[in-house]
């Protein structure tokens, strides 16, 4: 059993302590915007915020995050208003297949919180998500647009 505080709501989920947060979010809480890509914290498709920090949810267990503030893509918009990263993503028409984009957006939102005006080098250092469609050119454009929004 674990108490997970996700998007401001606490849910008691009946899982083993070593269950990866990713699978508790997807299967027990039922929020499927967070994606499974690799299971070994390589691709970033499962990125969520834990106490405001971008983390790959396949690589942390539910017991490690009990009581912490977890934000998923579904909780990024605050009070029904889309996050500026989401708005920039829509304006730049970033997603192609879109599967990696939840994780990409969560990683970028955390970057901008810490570094509101990232340089290209800052982006290169901080954003390490895999996108097989190859949206990076639009991702970079949209990060700068969101930073200037």
């Amino acid at each position: 059993m674990a108490n997970l505080k996700i998007n401001g709501k606490t849910t008691n989920v009946d899982v083993e302590d070593d269950t990866p947060l990713l699978w508790a979010i997807r299967e027990n809480v039922g929020l499927t915007g967070t994606k499974y890509g690799c299971g070994i914290a390589q691709c970033g498709a499962c990125t969520v915020h834990i106490d405001g920090v971008a983390m790959r949810s396949c690589g942390v267990t539910v017991s490690e995050v009990a009581g912490k503030d977890i934000t998923t893509i579904e909780g990024l918009a605050a009070g029904g208003v889309m996050h500026k990263v989401q708005l920039a993503w829509i304006a730049s028409d970033v997603p192609q297949c879109g599967y990696c984009q939840s994780g990409m957006i969560m990683a970028v939102a955390a970057l901008l919180k810490e570094n509101p005006k990232p340089t290209d080098d800052d982006i290169n250092d901080a954003i390490t998500n895999i996108c097989r469609c190859g949206t990076f050119q639009q991702v970079r454009e949209a990060i700068h647009a969101a930073a200037n929004a």
């Binding site: 929020l31 690799c38 070994i40 028409d93 192609q96 599967y99 954003i127 895999i130 990076f136 639009q138």
Partner: protein
């Protein structure tokens, strides 16, 4: 038909056992039809009729492509699959253009393959591969839109009792010109749906387009930014259980036994089931429980003889195929290349090779199935709804009217989801638990080790010059795998795989761009047991690397500039030349590059489009490459959405350069060694060059855009690497040469 040197059967050499698809008669007919060979098999594209067909919400179909709701919402039916390439939006633009509807009121929906089969394939081919999504359906979807427009106008004219010729439509509003009376599509759709469709409609000239041809925003973006988009992996059905699967790691191997008792008490586990004769699945309440239990399940495999195969044995076998004494299919020839080479003043020879590659779609393979003896329903991402339908039909054993496939957004396709192995598996599992919906999801490891890999090849190229350094002969000898042999043997031409010559063919949608007085292009077909599949760019990728790198080698031998050397051979191929010139001009070829920057160039034709690329790179320590800038030009004939084409071009460099630097699946003990992104990496944003696109649509033909540019990504960079270092790389990926991104 292209000439050939030998009869077929003896030439389809194989290592050990090869698994051939077994199709029953019913599935074969549908499967064949989807391949395009059987369009006569009941294909009937109706554009309306006297009895009103209704969408699920009761709104009338004006025809199969267009449903209009009373509130003027226009629902455009899309048969092809969206996997990121933008086809959903592009096809909707083409229908909307002819329909003259309000784009802001357009939404889309997928008809199901079952509905299509029940209506004599009303929506035609569902197959979405080979960059064909738009180019092979543009004509009939535009007619669908135009026909609906004519019927809507007629319905308004009937209501007003005026001639239709006095009415016009724009932006979903019909106007009676003499009186200025207006009505909307939503108000007359019901009446329009009852009309006979016109026998013929005239399509607009692309120059008159106002919706098509524009860089409109995609229709599917918002849900992809909020987590709401439903992919196959996200399907939830009441009472659904989850399955994890392990197929024999050695292709062609079988399950000997498994010890269910060891895991049956584990939390959440409901059932352990065999899947065919080669796989075992664990069904549990959650996928995490299923996967955790499967990891602990003792399975004994009968790996068979294929377990003796390795990358080394495959490479040796393919290398033997490079010997001219071995049989080969001739795909393209003129003159007598062998004789010209034998008597040439100078000759240049090089051997290249290209590895297996996994598609590595971000969303691993999955399908959800609800089977009862009365009905088999499948929910999945697929690039070919009809092929998935045929697979479900065969695997379920049910008749067509009791089977259907519900298509969902694909988390990447790249050719992988044109295959139906995961659908067959999911049906086989669900059949063992009738009445319970089962979601089968592959782990990344399963996905990596059970791909349908980019085929493996080697190529020996020999060029010959006369005394004046004119290229007089080129012998291009491929040895390696055929995709068609494995996945669509009925498409072989007397044993030859015409697709093997993509990019070096005599004519057609992937023709070579050079005229050489004596040319011989041939393929010694050798099919290892590792299953191949269509892969984004597929045969164009390695053929473009081989030919375009070798063109630079020839230019060097002739003491000529690589661009000038090519130009001299391209006089008869003006469209190839035009895109090459476009990138040369934009990158500044012929002007000095900035300090420490080196340039490379390449061109190819594929999927009906002409593409070229030029790269600017710098190299540190001889082995660390930074790609500073890419210029890419495409002539696809017509551009339906320039913003999306630009994204396909830029994305092609991510796929193509990921393959060049990181790709490569190796075989050991009959199985693929790479298991996840830690051993099969993919480019990240820090490695992404700036890509400048030059769109050069010349009109008069329809080419694809999702794939061809991948072909020029690697050779442009490899040629620049040679310019920087004097080192020519001929085996890939670069990580095996200790060459990396800077």
């Amino acid at each position: 038909m292209l000439p050939r040197t030998h009869e077929g059967a003896a030439m389809n050499l194989q290592v050990n056992q090869h698994i051939m698809p077994t199709l029953n008669r019913r599935a074969f007919v549908i499967g064949t039809a989807t391949a395009g060979a059987g369009l006569a098999l009941g294909l009937d594209l109706p554009f309306g009729g006297p009895s009103v067909v209704r969408a699920a919400d009761g709104a009338p179909e004006v025809n199969a492509w267009v449903v209009i709701r009373p509130d003027d919402t226009v629902v455009i039916r899309i048969a092809r699959s969206e996997m990121g390439q933008g086809t959903l939006t592009g096809l909707a633009q083409l229908v909307a253009e002819e329909l003259e509807c309000d784009w802001s009121k357009v939404t889309t929906e997928y008809p199901t393959p079952g509905q299509s089969v029940a209506r004599k394939r009303a929506w035609g081919d569902f197959s979405t591969g080979g960059s064909r999504g738009i180019r092979t359906s543009q004509d009939y979807v535009r007619k669908g839109g135009a026909t609906a427009r004519v019927m809507l106008i007629q319905a308004a004219a009937n209501e007003w009792k005026v001639p239709a010729t006095e009415c016009k439509a724009a932006n979903s509003v019909i106007t009676h010109t003499p009186t200025g009376k207006t009505t909307t599509y939503g108000k007359v759709a019901e009446a329009a749906a009852k009309l006979e469709p016109p026998a013929d409609v005239k399509l607009k000239e692309p120059k008159d387009w106002t919706i098509a041809g524009k860089g409109l925003k995609r229709l599917d973006t918002v849900d992809k930014t909020t987590g709401k988009m439903t992919y196959g992996i996200d399907v939830k059905l009441p009472g659904m259980l989850n399955a994890a699967i392990k197929d024999c790691p050695v292709f062609g191997g079988k399950v000997k036994s498994f010890d269910e008792a060891k895991i049956s008490g584990m939390k959440g586990v409901k059932k352990v089931v065999p899947v065919g004769d080669s796989a075992v699945a664990v069904v549990a309440d959650t996928w995490w429980h299923a996967k955790s239990a499967l990891d602990k399940l003792p399975i004994v495999w009968d790996e068979g003889d294929n377990a003796k195969v390795s990358s080394e044995t495959i490479a040796k076998w393919l290398a033997e195929g490079l010997d001219n004494a071995q049989p080969a299919y001739v795909g393209n020839q003129n003159g007598d290349a062998k004789a010209a080479i034998a008597s040439a003043a100078k000759k240049v020879e090089a051997v290249y090779s290209y590895p297996y590659q996994n598609h590595a779609t971000m969303e691993p393979m999955n399908a959800t199935v609800l089977y009862t003896p009365d009905k088999c329903e499948v929910w999945c991402g697929t690039q070919n709804g009809e092929a998935a339908f045929a697979a479900a039909l065969e695997a379920s054993g049910l008749p067509a009217e009791k089977v259907d496939v519900h298509k969902l957004m694909l988390g990447g396709g790249f050719g992988r989801r044109g295959m139906t192995d995961y659908v067959r598996q999911a049906v086989a599992i669900a059949k063992q638990m009738p009445g319970t919906p089962i979601k089968l999801l592959w782990s990344r490891e399963e996905d990596m080790q059970h791909g349908k890999y980019h085929p493996i090849t080697q190529c020996k190229l020999t060029g010959a010059f006369d005394a004046d350094n004119n290229l007089v002969a080129l012998h291009y000898r491929l040895s390696g795998q055929s995709i068609l042999f494995s996945v669509r043997p009925e498409a072989l031409q007397n044993g030859m795989d015409p697709a093997a010559f993509q990019g070096v063919a005599q004519s057609g949608e992937a023709a070579i761009g050079y005229a050489v007085p004596n040319l011989l292009v041939e393929h010694a077909m050798r099919n290892p047991h590792v299953p191949p599949g269509f892969w984004r760019g597929v045969n164009v990728n390695h053929n473009a690397i081989y030919l375009e790198c070798f063109m630079d080698e020839l230019a060097l031998a002739a003491g000529q500039d690589p661009l000038e050397f090519r130009r001299k051979l391209m006089g008869k191929h003006p469209k190839h030349l035009a895109v090459l010139n476009a990138v040369a001009e934009k990158i500044g070829w012929g002007t000095p590059a900035p300090q420490g920057i080196y340039r490379g160039i390449a061109q190819v034709m594929g999927y009906g489009s002409y593409v070229a690329g030029a790269a600017e790179i710098s190299v540190t320590d001889g082995s660390k490459i930074k790609v500073h800038r890419i210029v890419a030009s495409t002539d696809p004939g017509y551009v339906v959405n320039p913003a999306q084409v630009e994204r396909q071009i830029a994305g092609s460099f991510v796929y193509g350069l990921s393959a060049l630097f990181y790709g490569g699946c190796t075989v050991k003990d009959g199985r693929i060694e790479q298991t996840n992104f830690d051993t099969y990496n993919s480019m990240r944003i820090n490695e992404m060059p700036k890509v400048e696109s030059v769109m050069a649509p010349s009109g008069g033909f329809w080419g694809g855009v999702g794939e061809p540019t991948i072909g020029v990504a690697a050779p442009a960079v490899l040629n620049a690497y040679f310019a920087a270092t004097g080192k020519r790389i001929r085996t890939f990926p670069l990580r095996n040469q200790n060459i990396s991104f800077a």
